[in-house]
Amino acid sequence: MKKLHMKGFILRLLDEHKDGLWDYEIAQRVLAEYHHSGDYWHGEVRATLTDLFSGSLLEELEDRLDEGEYFGAGKVLVKFRLTPFGHRRMIESGLLLV
């Protein structure tokens, strides 16, 4: 199957995980999907998640402090879940079939 673009892939990933996923879990899967690696792409995934959150497509479930395991010590790790609006946008934009 042809690959989705990054935002589409993240949205579909979160649609499959109704209980939500941590941003580092999402980053790991995105990097594996597109064969990317390194800080730049980790940053891209975080920026993309911020976009999706600002647009109300995602909501935050919980957060905790990164102790240096994932994005760097002192950064916030966030667990995201798809919102009903995000679900609706996926249907409207053809990312989910009704």
């Binding site: 647009g55 905790r64 002192g74 934009s93």
Partner: protein
């Protein structure tokens, strides 16, 4: 391991929130700087051969010149965006987004409003009336964009943001109003086409911004803007210019060939660089702070246009420029200091 210099969760959370919103404003401010800079090459190209002489050939030749300048500009912007996409290693994402037609089609629609409507209109306004009029006419575009974003997909516009947008607009108008009066007093022939061009710029960029705000929530801004200019370049090369060749008596090819000289190409490349970077920052700001705020901060381009045009023409701005400058900066400040909790989610099912 927890280090003693590490922030607490609350501190880190606050910093994270503020940073994402600030980046939205920074992108929009860069857009304003680069947009203002664009008026220099955008105006200068009209003073180079063959465009400097087209006024003698009547209005159809003038319209043709504006079409050719816009077409060449869109190609120059696309060139820079292709480099940008390559540097960011996003060619794969470009291909994947094209395949999502229900998403990419919005960029193709945005290109109609931003290109043949707004950019062409802006060049008409510059050519027929003057750069001052062109800049002020387009300043109205955040009103169109914010209103559409509010009505169409319920973007949240707080009372404070509305005040900020209004103050920036008043500031922009006060910068240009006196110059505008003198341009009205001495318009070149066919000024009404320039006024229509100004209206096309305001409506075109407003509608394009609202469309972009809609589609950027499910796609990447760097890729989205490249798709939008790919579409615009295609419209000019494969649809509009061939249509002009077919249906008009104008000698399109000879004008294009004579336009391909060093000076014109230099201005076109400079305009492509400034406008390409400006558009990237414009699109990047929308998902973070919303179309209404992003467009209003970007409307500070009015201030930067005056500064850049003054530097390059060595005509210093008048005293009233300071009043306009103070107002636009104050309007930006009103929005910038809005609490980040109000801003971090720009859209809601229950708009405020």
């Amino acid at each position: 391991m927890i280090r003693p210099d590490m922030p607490t969760l609350e501190q880190a959370r606050a910093r994270y929130r503020v940073r994402s919103v600030r980046w939205g404003f920074y992108w929009a401010l860069w857009c304003a700087v680069l947009w203002g800079a664009w008026y220099v090459p955008g105006t200068a190209v009209w003073y180079e051969a063959p465009f400097a002489d087209v006024g003698t050939g009547g209005q159809s030749e003038f319209l043709l010149a504006a079409a050719i300048i816009t077409a060449l500009s869109s190609l120059a912007v696309l060139l820079f965006l292709f480099v940008w996409t390559g540097v960011l290693e996003k060619w794969g994402e470009y291909g994947r987004t094209i395949r999502q037609f229900r998403i990419s089609k919005w960029y193709y629609l945005g290109a109609v409003f931003g290109g043949p409507c707004a950019l062409f209109g802006s060049y008409l306004a510059i050519g027929y009336v003057g750069p001052v009029f062109a800049a002020i006419a387009a300043l109205m575009y955040p009103v169109v964009g914010a209103t559409l974003a509010r009505l169409w997909y319920h973007e949240k516009i707080s009372a404070r943001a509305a005040v900020g947008i209004t103050v920036i607009l008043i500031g922009g108008i006060s910068i240009y109003a006196p110059g505008l009066l003198s341009e009205f007093a001495n318009p070149d022939g066919g000024a009404w086409l320039g006024y229509i061009g100004g209206l096309m710029a305001a409506v075109g960029w407003g509608v394009e911004g609202a469309i972009a705000g809609r589609v950027l929530d499910v796609s990447d801004p760097d890729v989205g803007i490249t798709l939008r200019f790919t579409a615009e370049a295609c419209y000019w090369i494969f649809v509009i210019l061939p249509a002009i060749v077919l249906f008009s008596d104008a000698d399109v090819m000879s004008l294009i060939v004579s336009a391909l000289n060093f000076k014109v190409l230099l201005w076109i490349l400079l305009s492509g660089a400034s406008f390409g970077c400006c558009y990237v920052t414009w699109y990047k700001s929308f998902p973070l702070i919303g179309v209404g705020r992003g467009q209003a901060i970007a409307a500070l381009y009015g201030v930067f246009a005056v500064i850049f045009l003054s530097i390059f023409t060595l005509n210093m701005p008048e005293w009233y420029f300071l009043i306009g400058l103070a107002l636009t900066v104050f309007g930006g400040f009103v929005m910038f200091t809005e609490r980040s909790e109000m801003l971090e989610v720009i859209r809601g099912t229950n708009p405020i």
